[in-house]
Amino acid sequence: MRKLSEGAEAKVFETRVFGVEAVVKLRQKKAYRIMELDETLRRTRTRKEARAMLRTSEAGVSVPRVLGLGKFSIYMEKVSGKLLKDVPGKRVSFANMGAMLAKMHAANVTHGDFTPANVMVSGRRMYIIDFGLSDISNSIEDRAIDLLLMKRSISERQYKELAGSYAKAYAESKRVFSRLADIERRGRYQIRTLA
């Protein structure tokens, strides 16, 4: 299997499922932590990630289709395209992105790492990828952090477009924006991004 990427907790390989091109995200054993903790983390995170992807997809947002689930692995559709971070000028519809984020949050999914490195642009379609840090929750803070991480990586004009459509499409958006302002005022608890 060809390795496509490697993060702190999982590796992504190219594979085939019933003859169709696919990728598998495998949470590998970490030698640094004790076996009990290692297995619990890998198992619960794999399950949670798959659940978040399915929920987001059911809410009408494009995510890679989940094809199969192992104890520590998720098989998913291979989405070809370019990561938003590699698109010159990030020229995409941020209004669409705002609507996608609104639908995802309305379905109680927070992404946890919503940056241009985790949006795949495929033709005119955008896919949200890598739900590895996602959560199923009604936390306003987590929603605000999703907005904040993207805000830090795009232009002011692009953010305005994103925030405008998010506000229209999501009933709780007022609370999220007010929390976002709070987070930005905090000193110690600043959220950083490298994307």
Partner: protein
């Protein structure tokens, strides 16, 4: 020229003497935390009593006279205000008496820099773990040369968390190192694990583990709280290493003395073929040697301050400190 460094941010009053990048003396006296933890006024009183003695110990160790000291540095912060003031006053008194230059030093920068010096790593990611601090750091040149905070604790430092737990289950002395000793014979109990990207939080873990005090045996609790908190640090650190394409890691600060944490971080580095480094324990614990080492470099590049601008700052964050 010799540079004297004075450290007093918490329970340790330390005096070091540096000579061209070499630490000639690194002496200290500590406040005994017993089972109560640190009471700021009591710690400061102890430092006042110890200050002269430790300065003398350092001079004797380096076999030099006070007149040979050509510059002074002291810890400006972060730390406990009452404690920092004792070191500040000692440093200002000496600098004023000798008529030499003085420079305030960031405590965290000193830990990271002395470790870099000791381990000969070039541009490592630094995991700085002590009582009050737990941060993942990287040196950056923009907009000035400083340590950027890639990730850090959302609440308390890992050391204070383990010390607080030691007090909760009535260990003596109430230190994280006592937790480590009991952990050797423990079995795993599942506990809250909170990592968000490169940041992490410890109070949920502390509250949960403390709620089991008296219900589960101490060894199991010590083992589980230590394994869980260190695994959190390792995961966040590994993410920082991969995201920045780094190939070197250092760990520094009081908790870096933990052999279990060292072993776990070494394992992270081994998996990716990265280099790992940790300083000798005398530099991981709070000490004046590291302050002398950094102060010497700062004075050489003209970073001294006039006496009336030599202040202290309890929350002197590492990303606000210029690194020379």
């Amino acid at each position: 020229m010799l540079t004297m460094g004075i450290e007093s941010s918490a329970h340790t009053f330390g005096v070091g003497i540096a000579d061209n990048g070499k630490v000639l003396a690194n002496e200290k006296l500590m406040y005994d935390v017993g089972s109560r933890g640190m009471i700021p006024s009591k710690v400061a009183e102890t430092h006042v009593r110890n200050a002269r003695t430790v300065v003398r110990m350092a001079l004797e160790k380096a076999e030099v006279g006070i007149k040979e000291i050509g510059g002074v540095g002291y810890t400006k912060g972060p730390g406990i205000g009452a404690c920092l003031q004792v070191g500040q006053l000692t440093a200002k008194t000496i600098a004023n008496g000798l008529g030499v230059k003085i420079v305030p030093v960031n405590h965290a920068v000193a830990h990271v820099e002395i470790t870099k010096h000791e381990t000969k790593l070039r541009d490592p990611i630094a995991l700085y773990v002590s009582g009050g601090n737990s941060q993942i750091l990287k040196l950056t040149g923009e907009p000035f040369r400083h340590y950027q905070i890639l990730g850090e604790t959302f609440d308390v430092g890992v050391g204070n968390m383990l010390d607080a737990f030691a007090r909760e289950i009535k260990l003596r002395p109430a230190w994280g190192s006592t937790v480590a000793k009991l952990a050797i014979n423990g079995n795993y109990i599942e506990m809250p694990y909170t990592v968000k990207g490169m940041d992490f939080a410890f109070t949920g873990l502390l509250t949960y583990a403390s709620s089991l005090a008296g219900k589960k045996n101490k060894e199991d609790l010590c083992y589980s709280i230590q394994e869980t908190s260190f695994a959190m640090l390792c995961e966040a650190t590994e993410r920082a290493l991969l995201l920045t394409n780094s190939d070197e890691l250092e760990v520094c600060g009081g908790v870096a003395q933990s052999t279990r944490l060292q072993e776990m971080l070494r394992s992270v580095c081994k998996e990716h073929g990265m280099r790992f480094g940790v300083a000798r324990n005398e530099y991981n614990a709070d000490n004046g040697g590291m302050i002398a080492y950094v102060a010497e470099r700062m004075l050489k590049s003209g970073k001294s301050e006039p006496l009336d601008r030599c202040d202290i700052q309890q929350r002197y964050r590492i990303d606000k400190a210029v690194v020379v």
